[in-house]
Symmetry: C2
Subunit: 125 residues, 2 copies
């Protein structure tokens, strides 16, 4: 069972930066958080938004986010089963962070598309 991620607390004061990063890294956490900003989603709804995530990975990432108090998991005793994921207050408080990441990514999309565009690109603010 994959528990125990980097503690990353052996710094300061940049420590806070790494601590926050530690909660939202993991290959899919950022996107998951991003999509949940729009509201509650079921397991397979999230999955459909992440074309190449495996079931196992998505479960892991969701469990870690839950363990970190960023999202809530609500299981409905139905057949077929239904599980809904939504952000907690703490999770929602990450909105500015997520949006800052997204804004920069959008502004620098060229960087990701063409690695060689480094010199040419205008380095958008």
């Amino acid at each position: 069972m994959p528990r125990m991620r980097h503690s990353r607390l052996d710094c300061s004061p940049g420590c806070a930066v790494e601590a926050t990063l530690g909660l939202i890294d993991g290959k899919w956490k950022g996107v998951v958080l991003y999509h949940l900003l729009d509201g509650t989603l079921r397991f397979n709804e999230i999955r459909r938004k992440l074309p190449s995530v495996t079931q196992r990975m998505l479960t892991n990432q969701l469990r870690e986010l839950e363990a970190d108090g960023l999202l809530a998991r609500k299981v409905f005793a139905e057949v077929p089963p239904r599980v809904e994921y939504s952000l907690t207050d703490r999770g929602r408080s990450l909105r500015p962070v997520i949006m800052a990441l997204k804004a920069w990514g959008d502004a620098n999309a060229a960087l990701f598309a063409a690695p060689a565009a480094l010199d040419a690109a205008p380095a958008a603010a």
Copy 2:
């Protein structure tokens, strides 16, 4: 030689979130970027700010940041050698992102100190 990190581009539109994250994850990149926001630093100056980083890791992280166009490495032909690291314009454009990460981390410091404080804590905005 550790090259080739996750491409993370198989999403959308949360893609931008992961793309940005991909550039600043790595166990030390966030802090390095943070410290360089204050100005140019030499190799060992950075190292001193990161008590437990190894020489190898710091070098790796710095090289990746450089390859991603976020920082510039300036070598002085002196004895003893001197190498200065500073943010590029693109690196500086990450300031809002880094500061958002830091702000959240500071506001939620309790979360990192005591993992059990999840319920009690007030979930600062």
